[in-house]
């Protein structure tokens, strides 16, 4: 059990009081119901939240999901293995490449092939690039929800540098569909390493700029500090993962704690945590994560091993019977695939564990007792993606 800070203790007391109020309000049927969404800018797409209000403060909030349910798990049953990557790309659409990796790893585990080291390293690099593309948009988006337009424009501007690099390798700005069972589709293009290093430099500048513009901003701090506190034990009970969990003070990162064969252990980097568990902590942890990712990319580019990028796999891929579970630390948190194979061209059943589903499940808990404008900042700081919730 991790140490509990004063702020977390305070939040616990507040939540107990809020619990009492909720019961009272539901019994007396007072208050007003407000509907946010399904088309609301703060919901990153199509989440709908029904909020019950007493004046300005929220007494209960309930997320309604399913507006983006596209039936992935059923669709994977009628696709072949190479086709599934096309689908799973689109689960968390901001960090697409990261979605392919655990699925491919699970299939490789069943087939007992292993990608050559160079492929593993490039996978890790692209994984981190998609993390940067994902989280840099979050940084701008969070500021946008507090009311600062500028940061969002900056985020869109600097994110393009990363997307350019991803596009140069994979051919797609996002949705690369580049991972193959046994390796990667292509090798890196000429001059890519130098370009990527330049892009990482720009991203580090972007982080500094955002620190100046947003993190240190007094209004931003007033709106986020002490708002939406999730204590560590609650975060664990709700199954939060990723930066949301780390910002509650739990030091847990699958990249370090559960190696899956990718090259993270070859680089020197740090897992950041924050003791407070409030909206500000979630923002801060994510900015640090972008910085760490740029470091990982730089180091891996320096030590990139030579060799083939594809292992020997049959032309028509048939995965032998068996079951496999692989989870990785995606930009939003833990994402895992449980693949059941019956020896066919396609999987028999795939269970997808995505981070955002658990991350929004804490919304009813954390939104009790806050003010209406804080609902927006809390939602923004929890950072979910609708495709990742509904699948």
């Amino acid at each position: 059990m991790t140490a509990v800070s004063d702020r977390q203790k305070l939040a616990y007391v507040n939540s107990q009081a809020a619990d009492g109020r909720v019961n009272l309000e539901f019994e007396t049927q007072e208050g007003m119901t407000l509907n946010m969404g399904p088309q609301h800018p703060a919901t990153h797409g199509t989440l709908r939240i029904i909020v019950k209000l007493d004046g300005e403060s929220v007494i209960a909030a309930e997320p309604v999901m399913g507006y983006m349910h596209r039936g992935y798990e059923k669709l994977t049953e009628v696709r072949t293995y190479p086709q599934v990557t096309t689908l799973v790309n689109r689960i968390d659409w901001l960090g697409s490449f990261a979605n392919e990796v655990p699925f491919i790893l699970a299939a490789e585990k069943l087939m007992e092939v292993e990608a050559p080291p160079r492929a593993q390293w490039i996978r890790t690099i692209l994984f981190e690039l998609s993390r940067i593309a994902n989280i840099s948009l979050f940084v701008g988006d969070m500021a946008l929800h507090i009311g600062a337009m500028t940061a969002a424009f900056y985020a869109f501007r600097d994110r393009e540098f990363v997307l350019n690099q991803i596009e140069a390798v994979t051919g797609g700005r996002f949705h690369p569909n580049f991972d193959r069972i046994g390796g990667l589709k292509d090798d890196l293009p000429k001059g890519w390493i130098a370009d990527t290093k330049a892009a990482m430099e720009k991203i580090r500048d972007f982080c500094d700029e955002m620190d100046d513009l947003v993190t240190g901003n007094e209004i931003f701090q007033a709106r986020t500090r002490g708002v939406g506190v999730i204590p560590a034990d609650v975060a664990q009970q709700f199954g939060l993962s990723g930066a949301n969990l780390r910002s509650s003070g739990v030091d847990w990162d699958l990249r370090r704690d559960q190696p899956v064969g990718l090259a993270w252990d070859q680089a020197d980097w740090k897992v950041w945590t924050h003791p407070d568990g409030d909206s500000f902590a979630r923002f801060w942890v994510r900015i640090q994560e972008v910085r760490e990712s740029t470091k990982i990319v730089d180091q891996l580019l320096d030590g990139l091993p030579a060799g083939p990028i594809m292992a020997k796999v049959p032309r028509i891929i048939k995965v032998p019977e068996g079951e496999a579970w692989v989870a990785t630390e995606n930009p939003l948190g833990e994402m895992g695939y449980y693949v059941v194979s019956k020896g066919d061209l396609g999987p028999f059943r795939v269970k997808i564990r995505t981070a955002s589903f658990n991350n929004v499940s804490v919304v009813p808990w954390v939104c009790r007792g806050v003010y209406v404008p804080d609902v927006v900042t809390i939602l923004a700081s929890l950072y979910f993606i609708l495709g990742d919730i509904d699948r």
Binding site: P38, G45, Y67, M68, H69, G71, W93, R157, E160
Partner: protein, 166 residues
């Protein structure tokens, strides 16, 4: 606008009105899925900058918008909301369907929960293909729509007759 109602709008006036209409579009961005990010890049990023085309993003409500861009997967659960928002927009209104999903279902063509095309619910003026379309593709779609608005006969539109596509 009495001239439009009576059906006697002189030609020069028509083209004047059309020119001003086509360079003052308010676009309501209905971001549904992945394509919304590319739409965001087209509308909100300095690199693509849609405002130079005379298109203003981010209206406060659909009641102020002239153009709605459906970008992403339309699910059956979302359809009533889409229709309702479309009905709230004032005429003349235009629709851009962005991405394979909004056009025809895209990669989810055999999914049980996805509507195979937003054109089953609302009439679409411009389809932008791609999965996702690049921001440039969306900009081209907007330019095509502007050309179309420039050629429009407002009297015909007022009568509610089907548009002549040219």
């Amino acid at each position: 606008m009495g001239l439009v109602e009576s059906g006697k709008l002189p030609k020069p006036l028509t083209s004047l009105l059309n020119t001003s209409r086509k360079y003052s579009i308010w676009i309501f961005q209905w971001g549904l899925a992945c394509c919304a990010i590319e739409m965001g890049a087209a509308l909100g990023s300095p690199r693509y900058d849609v405002m130079r085309l005379g298109v203003i993003p981010l209206p406060a409500s659909p009641r102020q918008a002239d153009l709605v861009c459906f970008s992403g997967t339309v699910t059956d659960k979302m359809v009533p909301a889409i229709r309702r928002l479309y009905d709230q927009m004032p005429d003349p209104k235009y629709v851009i369907s962005m991405g394979s999903c909004a056009n025809c279902g895209g990669p989810y063509w055999d999914s049980y929960s996805v509507t195979k095309g937003v054109d089953q619910v609302v009439p679409v003026d411009v389809y932008v293909p791609g999965c996702p379309p690049r921001p440039e593709a969306l900009l081209e779609g907007i330019v095509l729509l502007q050309q179309r608005i420039g050629k429009e006969d407002m009297v015909e539109r007022w009568k509610g007759e089907p548009l002549v596509v040219s």
